[in-house]
Symmetry: D2
């Protein structure tokens, strides 16, 4: 029989860009007996989490919570707002944007993909130009990934919003925040997003198993005439049942316990402080990468992710990249740390450092030390000093999270 | 702020017919740190649960595990095997069969509903007759609920299988075992079922959040030409990734920890012993109901459920049923026990006693005492002695679980 | 390897008179990472539990908390207040009073034992008479067990206090409340007790591992001249360190987490409600015992325990008691319930039903059903109807906990 | 109300030299319902832990387990083997040796203290000389601390044994291994120790609350004539009850669950591998200290502790040490890490880094980065490069734990 959770001594460092480390408070909150999902105690829980989650999306509108992984919430965003054959404009920012595009194809949509090199975010000017061309308004939705988990590149959502507005185009704006929500500043209402897709296992610090659609009034209106078939994902019955704190089917009660605790934790720290903490750790990580003489995958500093940093492996004399997966394996076996792999196009030559969720300075230092020692052990050429550079950044900004947040 | 889990003194009795009480071993198993869903430790877990779950469905074929509630697995069974406009034959055994039928409608299927009075299981002869009529084989699937959670009535799945075979009809057989799997004997392969739908929160003793499709080769073949649009629910990519113990999207890792433990627990007790235990508790419960002078909703003793017993409230002088929900409220407030409500057609005049999952003789006795005391407190006329009758049944069969299992 | 926690299906009924069932909230509270016992977070915890625990003893004076079982707190009470050769007057109420007496002997005290038949509490008149005789005040302390866990008999502590006062005797009053604290009304200050001994695993609903000495000013004064050697148990350094929320040695941090939660739970329910709940369950249990035609060990109704009921096994034709341990074994094996055994003098002919701690009506009914079914299975002659009688008592008083408390 | 466990983001680094970080497996093991301490399930547990714990002490003799902190086990070692007025020879290795000495005084022993400067271990030659002088064998026991938690200095126990033997002296050898057991190689039988004292919260990775006496036959013989009064600590009844897996009083059941798991974990890793891991981390820590240009308190490299490293704060121009506590406070507030304080004689000018228990390379690196960054933030002059030096040591020895163990 498989023996689970038999890690070697000490805590595993789970430095993939999600699932992030689930804090003890959340694990314990989830460890309570399941209750009657139609009773008054559940109702109080339901009402609380439905109210709390709005603050995380920075919206006054409803947020639909699914017992599903983030992929499910992608599907929900599409099937609730679109009809068979509808054209949607999607932006190739990386692996996950590509998966979402493929999903749109499978669901019978006509998904137009604005090509990209996986090293930059969505180009608002390009979107504006494409929409301006679309005089007949065939494009029903623009879909953008806020933080590309595969690349460590963010896209400027307010700029995308402005692009749509400048083109005077009625398309809906659908945004994936699976790996940014609760870690990078994100404002559903202020930024005029119609459907925000997210998941539980990143900034919300929960295990995977819940996903979300924050919806605008315009999205709800669209859902009433959208023709794609749907049942499980349909917003209508859920929003109706949610009014009383319930769900139309059995919800994932224990994950909702965890969600309640997660929202409390984020509120205790203060969302703006949480965002500042992530930015600071990301900056320290980039200092390390630069000191190692390595290249950050993301090309545009304005688009650096606060959640993860994707690193390009150096090349050998023949111009070939050192193998990222052999390196990650060495790190796992020698230092009990999981790093994120390069996905599809990035496979073998990129690895990703997650620095998100319930995370602090010393865990970051353990992480970066593991990377630097991993280079050594795996024979990857690098300059020493990455760890030192990160420490320098952290000490220079120590204790300043709150101040940074206020300045932001 | 809502204070969760602030039940009054002592353990809550969660005697709804699911979610069932989650045992401590499973809660603790789920309380471990989330791991990298693409790493070797996860892979071992994935392979284990994918193998274990087959034994629960009594199948040698694959079982697809979704991070979703049971409703999602209903949808998965339909969208993987059927095409828009396909006719499906569904059987009205109660509230959940009706919901499944409505889902089929929403998904663009032509769902034919064999009417029923919610007090009997599926009528195999009626199914056979309808299929025999269908010379053109327009009917692509027959959908039956094995254990109607709303009524406490089971349907004879082997008989349904024989009906299809006798009619020489190629329709697929889709069976919902959401509230029977792991509690009532169920054999996916031996009974020739094509898709078995199930969920985590009943006989598997897990919190809600996982659901299942066990699939036959015929179902897999059907899935390759089925035309309903699907992405999240598509079996293809999942089965492919499962070969290596992984999933195409982030699985609900912590619920999988729980599933692993649940399978271990069922194996330790022995599936046949588990089934015998449920039958014995159901029989004791019926003894109590009869002694109270109450009516069991299920009309056919051969179809009594081992998982729950639905009870008809007595009538007053004017022929009106005493109110079931007022009674349940009295039980909850006075005795800290949740009972199942009557759903839709049964609302107000039926309540349900769940006796499933991680459950034993004394918990059953606490449950039945709570019902009998609830009658008293709520002023529901009844004969004393239900508790005594159940005790008589339990003592007469005490310590015989293993023997009963062998005799079965 | 031993497989722990592999109970058969369903929750074990732990109906010994302590350790009582530890509620989920407390288990989870204890499951947090251990912290620095000299840091500010610990300090806040220390101050909280040191304040909270006073409310449970109903004292404004300090309470010393030991990482030890209750036996240790017995020793602490003696070694802190007495000198080698001191005479102490102890009262033979049962097994535990006898053990405390033996401990006094071992520690070099001259323990005088007022004999008893283990079926009655301490006789205040007898104590008064003995003290009145002691003109030279050789007796330095009177030691009484408030609730004899071995017999289910309580002693009237205010009456003992009055006896000492009437005799104008300076002896200290030492009281063991190991199995009564937090379950039966007990007032350290109002009743003029000098040292109250208690433990964590009964009314406080914690696992065993903490024990207590609540102390009067007179006891503290005595401790400054007491000559018995002591180190670990010495109050002085502990009280000094406690002023800042710390301990002189490493305290049992995780049990203190649990204690904090336990005090919160008792405060939420209200101590007087907790006491009334225990009395009501004890009364229902006695109704059951009487209906079975069995004898309650405790002879004086005024001294019935609210925490446990000791039951005398019936006699066969030859006048011999049916074997209590064979009966208990049958209950454990058939119904997964632990009952308390008869200790020393009571061995084999008495068993004990614990009804304390985190306990409610339905758990009591499961318990009593288990006893009644156990009689049947083990062939112990009894009248049916105990369970019914208890139900009658519970329904007659249902929902009245709060009212009962107010009337008390 | 105090809010516990509200650490800022991320896991706290508990780098005091004990309590050490309790691993998740142990916390979860302790989180199971308490069971009947006189029932068969407990008996299996009792037998298992009593057998397992012997392997950790490397003894074939019994080990007594107390529900108490380590201080209690010190007292137990003395009161079981000695009589009032007995002379014991103790060695001043640091704060804890001094506390043990004071305890001996309080218990009425004549404790002779071989002075020391808190920077060296016990001097075997000095002990031999003193024993040789003691022609009348007034000295009944020699008491040594194996690993001084206050100084990071170990004492050579086999050398002390040889010293006693060379002096042909019958004194018992009592050794405190509270902070070494399960972390530094220790052999109760092979080294001829009579009583080994230990505790749960260091190498055993448990919360505080259990402590131990491993006993030799000679110690047991001594206990039968030892005259110090004892009750709770008395070995006799405990050893008798332990034969059947039980205890004479209610044991700390949930901590025993944890002990069972801890022994499993140590066995899985292999005790020799555990020791080698600690030595490697200690060596890496010393590399860091040296690189910072700081002084290690321990003067003799042969006596370096594998469990903690005590560091002397540098001096300013006036020759005054920078304040260690201000530094520790800066580390706690800025980097969420607890370091050990300097105790009594070492107060203010020494701090301690714990590197014990459930600990790995990256947690060590986080720890050392926190120290180095703390120097910076607190304005403590130091050379950069400590972290780098430790990384160099770790990479040079990566993956070699097993090999190192074999070579040892």
């Amino acid at each position: 029989m498989v023996k689970l959770n038999s890690h070697p001594a000490g805590r595993h460092f789970l430095q993939i860009p999600g699932p992030s480390t689930v804090p003890d408070r959340i694990l314990r909150a989830m460890d309570y007996p399941t209750i009657d999902h139609r009773g008054p105690e559940f109702q109080a829980l339901g009402k609380k989490v439905l109210a709390d989650i709005k603050t995380i999306f920075q919206t006054a509108n409803p947020v639909v919570i699914y017992p599903a992984s983030g992929t499910g919430a992608w599907e929900a965003a599409l099937v609730n707002t679109l009809s068979p054959g509808d054209t949607v404009l999607m932006v190739e920012t990386g692996h996950f944007a590509t998966l979402w595009k493929k999903m749109a194809d499978k669901l019978g949509l006509n998904a137009e993909f604005l090509g990209g090199d996986w090293r930059r975010g969505a180009d608002a000017a390009q979107i504006e130009a494409r929409l301006a061309e679309d005089k007949e308004h065939k494009i029903k939705a623009v879909c953008v990934v806020h933080n590309e988990t595969s690349t460590g590149v963010t896209s400027d959502i307010p700029a995308v919003r402005r692009a749509i507005d400048k083109a005077n185009h009625p398309a809906l704006l659908l945004v994936d925040t699976i790996s940014s929500l609760g870690s990078i500043d994100y404002r559903h209402d202020e930024w005029g997003v119609d459907v925000t897709v997210s998941g539980s296992q990143k900034g919300l610090m929960l295990p995977p198993g819940l996903s979300f659609n924050a919806v605008s009034d315009k999205a709800i209106a669209a859902s009433q005439r959208a023709g794609l078939s749907k049942a499980y994902w349909g917003w209508g019955e859920i929003l109706e049942a949610n009014k009383n704190g319930f769900w139309p089917y059995t919800p994932a009660t224990n994950l909702l316990y965890g969600l309640s605790e997660a929202c409390d934790m984020l509120a205790e720290e203060g969302l703006q402080n949480v965002f500042a903490r992530h930015q600071r750790h990301a900056a320290a990580t980039r200092e390390a990468v630069k000191a190692w003489g390595m290249e950050i995958l993301c090309q545009n500093p304005a688009e650096y992710s606060g959640v993860l940093t994707a690193v390009v492996m150096p090349r050998d004399a023949s111009g070939q990249h050192y193998n990222a997966d052999a390196f990650r394996k060495a790190v796992l076996e020698n230092f009990n740390m999981s790093l994120g792999q390069g996905l599809t196009k990035l496979s073998g030559w990129v690895f990703r450092i997650g620095h998100l969720g319930d995370f602090n300075d010393l865990t970051l230092m353990g992480t970066l030390a593991g990377v630097e020692m991993g280079f050594e052990v795996a024979g990857v050429p690098h300059q020493k000093g990455g760890v030192l550079a990160a420490m320098k950044h952290l000490t220079a900004t120590a204790g300043n999270n709150e101040k940074l947040a206020k300045a932001a």
